[in-house]
């Protein structure tokens, strides 16, 4: 089962990938760690963010790890480099 997910790239991740947004087929049952590994395959340049990045899945922060994630068509996943608002 795959889900067509909208992946958003912000700040340095947008510069590294050259994209702000793209629709990517991703496994419907996965983990945030696996998700990051798949995004790294798609955009090896994202390795520059390794260990200093989290994801936001449906607008909730998710640290990279083993926790189970269920994705559906139309879901939004964002690559979130270190925050610097304020």
């Amino acid at each position: 089962m795959t889900a067509r997910v909208t992946v958003l790239y912000f700040a340095k991740s947008a510069e590294l990938t050259g994209h702000r947004s793209e629709v990517v087929p991703l496994p419907a049952a996965t983990s945030s760690g696996q998700l990051w590994a798949l995004l790294l395959e798609l955009h090896p340049s994202l390795a520059a963010l390794q260990d200093q990045v989290v994801l936001a899945v449906r607008q909730q922060y998710v640290a990279l790890g083993d926790q189970a994630l269920l994705l559906a068509d139309g879901d939004e996943v964002a690559v979130v480099p270190p925050l610097s608002g304020g």
Binding site: L8, F10, A11, K12, Q52, V53, V54, A56, Q59, Y61, A63, A78, V80, P81, P82, L83, S84, G85, G86
Partner: protein
């Protein structure tokens, strides 16, 4: 705090105002949206663009945000503030996006409360929480046109946290 002091406050519902905009921030408007006849205090914090960072001349900042998630994260910050300081009346948090020239405001927070301590503490908490959790990013652009994505030490996954 006697409950009688709340007569006025009870008539006017509390407001959480969260805004993102490329326009210059009006400090008067941020202040006005927090002031309340039931309160004696408004505390504000304004973050501005510094012209130097570690000896390099900064010419501007560029901000971008994951806008709907900023709204949800800052709404959660407002809920936290109300849980910790129940006397807080209005909360106004405005963040500018896009280019912010030197000496202009990138963020403005105003919070009202009947007495001043709550408003002052809540503003201090709010700016820390915003830096830790609002999905907003800033790039510092130097005189040389080199640039650097900044990282808040308050952010749990930054290199300098």
């Amino acid at each position: 705090m006697s409950s009688r002091e709340e007569v006025g406050g009870a008539m006017e519902p509390s407001r959480d105002l969260i805004g993102l905009s490329p326009e210059p921030l009006s400090i008067e408007r941020v202040y006005s949206s927090a002031v309340s006849p039931s309160c004696g205090a408004v505390a504000l914090f304004i973050g501005t663009t510094r012209e130097h960072f570690e000896g390099r001349r900064v010419i501007r900042l560029e901000y971008e945000a994951y806008e709907p998630m900023v709204q949800s994260e800052l709404s959660a910050v407002c809920r936290d503030i109300r849980a910790r300081w129940p006397m807080v009346k209005h909360i106004c948090i405005q963040h500018r996006l896009g280019l912010v020239p030197v000496a202009e405001a990138s963020v403005a927070i105003a919070i009202s409360s009947p007495h001043r301590c709550e408003a002052q503490e809540a503003v201090g908490y709010c700016i820390n929480a915003l830096k830790a959790s609002a999905p907003i990013w800033k790039k510092e652009v130097y005189e040389s046109e080199e640039s650097k994505w900044k990282e808040n030490p308050e952010c749990g996954w930054s290199g300098n946290s």
